[in-house]
Point group: C2
């Protein structure tokens, strides 16, 4: 199995981008990554795209072909593949790209993630997101994506493993970092009162506990580790890329305050990378609702159950705390959450941190970074570990 | 790169299966393949699913997790990944599975393809299929999926490379074979007059030139070639699995009577397998409209341009002709076309032919078989070559 490196990254601004089409966003992120890798584009021999539902958001299936076409790769008949795993679509696309290079079936691969969501009304958007949980046994019974996360939060508070304030502090941490990220949808720090007093979504979660609806795209370029120096001095090693599943419906799990798939994927990833949770300096975690951040920090092994919320509330997850920095990009909450793009955007941020190109949110001496991307309510999770060279 | 084998295959009946849910179909095909491979299921460490649009057909995204869950693999957190490439979704899923085993990142992989289409009205179904072509520049301008294929047929007739009768004979050949396949949606041979006189869809193509709307699922189990004998004596080698792209829109191609992606993918596949088109004994090709069969036979190198239709009309594509047998399963036209399942169903048929388990449609002494799966109007094509051991 060949080792793999990231030799280029690119990302668009995330937000309500009404003047930019899906095609334009995909081209922008892809072109930036290709330029960053010092490639012309014609060297790329495979493309993998993470996308939740262009079919429903913009009435276009088969966006693998669309991306190959609009990035100029169709004329060389370069194969392009779309993958979907709910909110983990980007993370899974990244893993497919890693697998393609590791297998030797491809040499230089572009991985993209893109979603154009804001052209639809809110009800239609929510219907798609609800369908990433169990449509028959959850959504149609009234258990929307928001209410499922609210039940997780209620259970945590009931068990005493997190307070309402600790849960809210996940959003505060993401907004704190978003203020430093010029591509973030929300570039403004907020006090915890703003989160606690925000309009109710599903008790106890409010508007500020919820990631926004976003448009955006992100891209990375991969090649065999042994070839990376040919293209750039500023590459990053892919130390591990693991994936795990769980039941589609939340009610079938033994414990709803922990995602077994995060635990399983992270254990596989740490083993493959030859490290432990204590070696991670910076991580992007899936705070689609604030409560997801608490679970991630515990399931990834950064904190014991009941301690992640305290650490978050005390500001220990800030980029300059000296502990593991969490969501320095602004996370899903402040950077934005164009669903298929999210997992790839996480990789872009971690690559910047390990390359030392994270500007005024740079984590000092970061050696290992981790990205955790979640589909549904933990029914698919990818955990990727990158290593500075 | 590890070589890969198919150690088990499974398929459901294809058709209008109103009494079977998407979940039930997926379980049936998966369980059959696992049983065929003499596995218990717990040995499987990765799942890849081809599916066009469960999001629109049954309002369920994230069916990777659904399949992992309903085949019992979620409890072991086995990763599952959904891929989509329009009509080539199944073929691409197969290739991802091959890549996963070849890379060493997985050992025993289940590849599934499934689609449940008949719960929707015809207009909604057609809207999804139109969206596998270029939604903005074709479908919204009135160039539906059917009319795009009709333009290809018109052009062929205009250029004199196929007659209307020759194009119709693709459907006759598929129906001829469908009569031998107990899982086919249509198990009845039809004379060419039935095709020529069928209700018009888009001139010159009629109802019998068009693959039906179908429900169904298919599955195969893969493992490293060197381990195959541990499980079964009746395995098949994956000699090659190639994929290529082309422009999303048909009008941007230099020649609309040939799919450049089929040519590119087949050349890569022949090279990887170390053979030529002349070595292929049996092939499943993508006759979503009859005209697709003519193009396939030419683009794959079985016949020169202008000669495929003649061969088809003369019955040279029958399983017992001694020439390369085409669509012995009944093809998309008679076996049925549950979109995400089609590419995997093609692999199932070729595996049966090479194992000698194709019953009364068995091609004699078949050594090499090929499957060609097409997304959109040739914007993504997979060509896989299997080899009898």
């Amino acid at each position: 199995m060949r080792e793999v490196a990231i030799i280029g990254v690119g990302i668009t601004k995330f937000g309500e981008l009404w003047n930019k089409s899906f095609r334009a966003l995909g081209i922008e992120a892809g072109a930036k990554a290709i330029e960053d890798a010092n490639l012309s584009g014609s060297e790329i021999d495979g493309v993998f795209i993470g996308n939740l539902s262009a079919g429903r958001f913009i009435n276009q299936q088969h966006i693998d072909a669309l991306v190959a076409d609009y990035t100029g790769m169709a004329t060389n008949h370069i194969p392009a593949t779309r993958v979907e795993a709910g909110g983990a679509s980007g993370g899974v696309a990244f893993r497919q790209g890693v697998m393609a290079v590791a297998s030797g079936m491809h040499d230089i691969v572009m991985v993209g993630g893109a979603e154009k969501m804001t052209d639809l009304d809110d009800a239609s958007i929510n219907s798609v997101m609800d369908a990433t949980a169990d449509s028959e046994w959850e959504a149609e019974m009234g258990a929307t994506f928001a209410s499922l996360h609210a039940m997780i939060a209620q259970r945590m508070i009931h068990e005493g493993t997190a307070t309402r304030e600790e849960i809210a502090s996940v959003a505060v941490n993401s907004h704190f970092h978003g203020a430093f990220n010029p591509n973030a949808q929300f570039k403004k720090a907020v006090p915890i009162e703003t989160v606690l007093r925000s309009g109710p979504v599903a008790t106890p979660l409010g508007m500020f506990d919820s990631a926004p609806i976003s448009d955006g795209a992100a891209s990375v370029v991969l090649c065999p580790l042994e070839d990376a120096k040919k293209y750039t001095d500023n590459y990053v090693k892919v130390a591990a890329s693991a994936q795990a599943s769980d039941t589609l419906a939340l009610f079938q799990r033994p414990d709803i305050t922990s995602y077994g798939a995060t635990v399983a994927a992270s254990q596989k990833a740490y083993q493959a990378a030859g490290i432990t949770a204590a070696d991670i300096n910076v991580a992007e975690v899936h705070d689609v609702y604030s409560v997801g951040g608490i679970m991630a920090l515990q399931d990834l092994g950064f904190y014991k159950k009941g301690e992640a919320g305290k650490a978050m509330l005390e500001g220990q997850c800030h980029y300059d705390s000296g502990k593991v920095a969490i969501n320095t990009s602004g996370g899903l909450k402040a950077r934005g959450h164009p669903i298929g793009a999210t997992g790839v955007a996480q990789i872009v941020e971690i690559a910047h941190q390990l390359r030392g190109t994270a500007d005024n949110r740079q984590v000092k001496d970061a050696k290992y970074g981790l990205a955790q991307n979640v589909g549904g309510t933990g029914s698919a999770v990818t955990v990727s570990i990158l290593e500075a060279i």
